[in-house]
């Protein structure tokens, strides 16, 4: 039942948020998000301690005529990490905007919580049709959120995002239905794996590409990425955090959970090509990040580079690499949330996203600068920050991939290690160093609320960086 509550509480909480008086809605949303977090933490402990009598799998009949069941479960470290991440991000978002509430609060918090419910479902679903439904349930609130809140170009940008991802979803659904034909009319994970195994390599190829494109758009990797910098730039920060910290992980997660197990032959067959695309994402994202003058676009391209490396590590199909990806998916979520909170503080005070207009903030806001530097260093995966261990393991996986080009791929992806230092340190330099100008001289240092949130994020960064035992325990299956 615990598992179902992970979905049900944000779902009902979200619906309730839409109906209640506006003045209560913020505290309500925080309460719901923290309850969900407590449940996720309980799930984590039950999973690691193997508590007797607590079942982390739940099944209920659903659309019997189609052979679809409502089947959810916390079955492995990867799903735990994703559920934990989803549960951690939302309270952080809600608390971080305590003093800067959005308009139409009911709609905002309602949609946010619905998105959380959908995301939980995606990470818990053990049934292909259910997975698809949650996939859409997670996306639809975000479409609305990004079209209602954000920058002036948000409508066309959201439309692009919508076209992209919706096209992907349709293709994925079609592919799922095609696989369904080969099962005994079952949508369960097991029967999909069985059906996939019965397919010949030739049949797998088409299905593989259909599903891969859907997931690749979500991640996104080159050349399916063009919705992403625009969407990150134009959406309001809370939405951007949901998009970049959790939603992009849907694509990666789905590849690990559904694509590779169901279509193993094709996943090996196309390994080289996809590794190439992933590595191109790393280099391309890094190079693009170097010339951005808009801080949000810089982080967006940097994220493309990071996701590219995760994708490469997944398709290398080495145990170390996959464990590294699971760890990194979690840590990347924490770090990029930290970066967006930093950016929103900048944007709220300076009313600009343009790096050329900033400078000298280190002098007027030392606490802010420390947070900026620590989170940025985690973003470039400096050892003893949480970004390092996962990246090291992922590179190891890529290096040992069964591909003739593995060394070239590793070195090319390694360029990302160098270039990430270039653009991240440039960002720090442009924001914080030099002398203040008329815009930045009045920059106020962190408020108590901001300090609390950033200190928590920094503690997570350093704790998991120095002592990654908790993460290791989860992925070590």
């Amino acid at each position: 039942m615990l598992i179902v509550l992970l979905i049900l509480i944000p779902l009902l909480g979200g619906l309730a948020a839409m109906l209640m008086p506006e003045r209560n809605v913020h505290i309500h949303a925080v309460g719901v998000a923290i309850t969900t977090l407590a449940l996720a933490v309980a799930g984590y402990f039950h999973f690691t301690m193997n508590t007797p009598g607590i079942d982390l799998v739940y099944q209920h009949s659903w659309i019997e005529s189609l052979g679809a069941t409502f089947s959810v479960g916390l079955t492995d470290g990867l799903s735990i990490l994703m559920v934990l991440l989803t549960a951690i991000i939302f309270p952080f978002i809600f608390i971080s905007i305590r003093n800067k509430q959005p308009e139409r609060k009911n709609t905002f918090y309602g949609l946010m919580l619905l998105a959380q419910a959908g995301l939980m479902g995606v990470f818990l679903a053990q049934d292909a049709l259910l997975f698809y439904v949650f996939w859409e349930v997670a996306l639809i609130p975000v479409y609305f959120l990004s079209s209602m809140y954000g920058g002036p170009r948000r409508i066309p940008v959201t439309f692009k995002f919508f076209v992209y991802t919706f096209a992907g979803s349709l293709i994925m659904l079609a592919a799922f239905l095609m696989i369904y034909q080969h099962t005994a009319h079952q949508f369960s994970f097991g029967s999909f794996v069985g059906a996939g195994a019965s397919l010949e390599a030739g049949q797998q190829n088409l299905l593989f590409w259909m599903i891969f494109i859907a997931f690749a758009i979500k991640m996104p990797i080159f050349p399916f990425h063009t919705w992403q910098p625009d969407a990150y730039e134009q959406s309001a920060t809370p939405v951007t955090i949901v998009l970049s910290a959790i939603m992009v992980k849907m694509g990666l997660f789905a590849v690990i959970r559904w694509l590779i197990p169901v279509l193993p032959l094709a996943s090996v067959r196309w390994m080289d090509l996809i590794l190439l695309l992933s590595v191109v994402s790393v280099v391309f994202g890094s190079i693009m990040a170097m010339v951005q003058t808009n801080i949000k676009r810089l982080i967006a391209y940097s994220s493309i580079a990071h996701i590219g490396l995760m994708s490469a590590a997944i398709f290398s199909q080495q145990a170390v690499g996959l464990q590294g990806v699971a760890i990194q998916m979690f840590n990347h979520g924490i770090n990029i949330m930290g970066l967006w909170i930093i950016v929103s503080i900048l944007e709220n005070r300076l009313k600009t996203q343009d790096l050329r207009e900033m400078g000298g903030i280190a002098k007027v806001a030392p606490a802010f600068t420390i947070a900026l530097v620590v989170i940025s260093l985690a973003n470039i995966a400096l050892p003893l920050t949480n970004g390092f261990v996962g990246e090291f393991m992922m590179f190891n996986g890529l290096f040992n991939a069964a591909s003739p080009y593995r060394i070239a791929f590793t070195v090319a992806a390694g360029l990302g290690v160098i270039l990430s230092a270039v653009y991240t340190l440039t960002m720090i330099q442009k924001v914080a160093y030099g002398n203040t100008n008329s815009l930045t001289e009045g920059f106020k240092d962190l408020t108590i609320n901001e300090k609390l949130i950033l200190i928590l994020i920094i503690l997570i960064i350093l704790w998991l960086g120095f002592y990654p035992k908790m993460l290791m325990g989860l992925v070590n299956v």
Binding site: S147, M288, G414, L425, Y433
Partner: protein, 638 residues
């Protein structure tokens, strides 16, 4: 021995206290930070006395906790102590302590003093981790940590954007090297499934070595070393790094961090010794670095820049030693160089302090009568680096050159070229000395009034380092001199248990005692010649002359920065701007937007209202209906 974790622990605590309490502590931050390093130094000394009892080839490994621990990869967070790491501990904490003391006075008026000391403590912590790590990953953590602190401290005065630029350059160039380090680790791990020094040495030492594999690994690690230890082609960051406060230059960019590459290669001796091609590369790169940097040093006018290029050049000598497998000589030079180069940098800091921030030696002159202690200690540093016996630099440089001379077919050519670099070393150091301290004062009236000797907190470290620069060489008396006096090469004996397997391999032809004494004589004469050249040209230096021809080329650092800028940096940015404009905006995006427009055109017909949101809704409903149809069709098929 189990107390080894205390060594990095004290600076870490110091970092936390000074870092978190930076607003409250004020001036006492400097004393707290120094105390932390002193505590480390005391523990290091205790370890140093115990380390001799460790049996050869089996260092004490202290397992702290599991760092990476999954079924397929296990890398513990563990520390290792043996003679090699112990020597480095002594240098890092000993010289580190002196430089901390010096900084209390030097940075006394800086508003960011507590921040400075917290960075300095963090640096020492990282550096200690680097030399204590029991596997390559822990070493790498320290390796990156010192790089970070170097970045933070070079850009310490962050209001000056040129300084932060220099800081970024240092970090990025180090990262280029780090990629080599990483690939080296991946190679090792994929073959041996461990990164542990002890296990790797055992695995590589047993059975026939796979020479081409070891050569590849060694070269990867050496790429890492070229970044951190400022060797050709990645050396250009170090002179720029002089933007940091002078104690930083002394500690990080002369005595400790830049020698991390030497430590790493020595620690990996069991691989490099089996990879002669890699060693040959190291020898050539080391020689090239020593020569190029020395030529540039002869033409610089910034007191710290001269010392920076000198450091690069001396590091080149250390790598020459590693290239011929003379690990003990390399480490010997690390130690003596740490003494005299820290001394020279701190001396230059004292000069800059006295001159009110001036760094251009053309505007100094005649300082010897105003700053006696600084002058005398600086003078000692100059003789030591020039290689006049019996000061420390003579012995270590001599040992390196001796091994270069006997190592391999072209040994004599390499030796000759190395001696050329040594000649230039003596010349540019004494040029620096004479122009700064002799002749007429060339500064402003203001500066003349202000001119003073530095306070005791700064001069005491100078005196201690000067004494060490004089006597430091006696830990490595060569056999030819030592035998008659009953003294042995103490350092060689001390390091033997660690490096035994490699030391046996690397001994080439043996020189007769006569030969050896002759080489020493030549080396001394060359040093004297360099000093005399400096004396004749610069004893009465008055005004700068415009340099021309080849000297102009040297003055402009061989135009290497311009070369990198033109060949790598600018094209990279051009490519990315080009990509931004054509691929992103016009290409992929154009295509996608085109399709989007097409869809929008279609959906517009269904739009009842111009409101984007409602249209959206409708569009989705339509697609949803289509979807249901699709499902229906499939469903009916069965």
């Amino acid at each position: 021995m189990n107390l080894v974790w205390l060594v990095p622990f004290f600076p870490l605590i110091g970092f936390l206290i000074t870092g978190l309490g930076r607003n409250q502590l004020g001036k006492s931050a400097g004393w707290i930070a120094s105390l932390a390093i002193l505590a480390s130094f005391i523990v290091s000394t205790i370890l140093f006395t115990e380390v001799k009892s460790i049996p050869a080839g089996s260092p004490v490994v202290v397992h702290l906790f599991d760092f990476i621990n999954t079924g397929s990869m296990q890398i513990p967070f563990s520390l290792q102590i043996d003679a090699l790491s112990s020597i480095f501990l002594m240098v890092i904490t000993g010289i580190g302590f002196l430089i901390h003391l010096y900084s209390i006075s030097y940075m006394g008026h800086d508003e960011g003093m507590a921040k400075f000391f917290s960075y300095l403590n963090l640096f020492v912590f990282s550096m200690l981790l680097l030399v204590l790590g029991a596997n390559y990953l822990i070493m790498f953590i320290g390796w990156e940590g010192v790089g970070l602190c170097s970045y933070l401290l070079i850009g310490f005065w962050y209001k000056n954007l040129d300084y932060t630029q220099a800081a970024r350059k240092a970090f990025v160039m180090n990262r280029i090297g780090d990629l080599g380090f990483l690939v080296g680790m991946f190679l090792l791990f994929s073959k041996y499934n461990t990164l542990d020094f002890v296990a790797l040495q055992a695995a590589i030492g047993s059975g026939t070595p796979d020479v081409s594999f070891l050569t590849a690994v060694s070269l990867c690690f050496f790429v890492g070393a070229t970044g951190k230890s400022a060797q050709v082609p990645l050396f250009t960051w170090l002179p720029d790094a002089m933007a940091g406060p002078t104690p930083v230059s002394a500690l990080i960019h002369a005595a400790t961090m830049v020698t991390a590459g030497v430590y790493m290669v020595s620690r990996s001796h069991f691989m490099f010794t089996l990879a002669p091609t890699a060693q040959q590369v190291i020898l050539i790169i080391g020689l090239a670095t020593a020569l190029i940097a020395a030529t540039i040093a002869t033409q610089q006018n910034d007191i710290k820049k001269v010392l920076a290029y000198s450091t690069v050049s001396q590091l080149g000598f250390m790598f020459m030693a590693l290239g011929v497998g003379a690990y003990v000589a390399a480490i010997f030079h690390v130690i003596t160089h740490a003494f005299f180069k820290a001394l020279l940098f701190l001396g230059s800091g004292s000069v800059i302090h006295g001159m009110g921030g001036e760094q251009d030696i053309r505007k100094m002159g005649g300082l010897k009568s105003h700053m006696k202690i600084t002058y005398i200690t600086f003078f000692i540093g100059c003789i030591a680096i020039a290689g006049i016996p019996p000061l420390s630099g003579f012995f270590s440089k001599d040992e390196i050159m001796m091994h270069v001379f006997t190592g391999g077919a072209y040994g004599k050519i390499f030796w000759t070229l190395g001696m050329l670099a040594a000649l230039m070393t003596a010349y540019y150091m004494f040029r620096l000395l004479f122009v700064t301290f002799w002749g007429q004062f060339r500064g402003t009236e203001d500066q003349r009034h202000h001119l003073h000797e530095s306070p005791a907190l700064m001069t005491v470290p100078l005196v201690v380092l000067a004494i060490l620069s004089v006597v430091g060489g006696f830990i490595g008396i060569p056999a030819v001199l030592g035998e008659s006096m009953g003294m042995s090469h103490a350092l060689h004996e001390f390091l033997k248990p660690v490096l035994a397997t490699s030391l046996e391999v690397s001994h080439g032809e043996h020189l007769s005692h006569q030969h050896e004494l002759m080489l020493m004589g030549i080396a001394t004469l060359i040093a004297v010649a360099g000093i005399l050249m400096g004396y004749f040209y610069f004893k009465k230096y008055n005004a700068a002359k415009e340099s021309s021809g080849i000297f102009k080329f040297f003055e402009n650092k061989w135009y290497i920065d311009e070369l990198y800028d033109g060949v790598i940096v600018k094209p990279l940015f051009t490519i990315s701007r080009w990509k931004e404009r054509f691929v992103e905006k016009a290409g992929i995006d154009g295509l996608v937007n085109g399709i989007g427009k097409l869809v929008q055109l279609g959906s517009n017909r269904f739009r009842l209202l111009q409101n984007g949101l409602v249209g959206f809704y409708l569009f989705m409903t339509v697609l949803g209906v289509i979807l249901l149809f699709v499902i229906q069709i499939w469903y009916n098929k069965f």
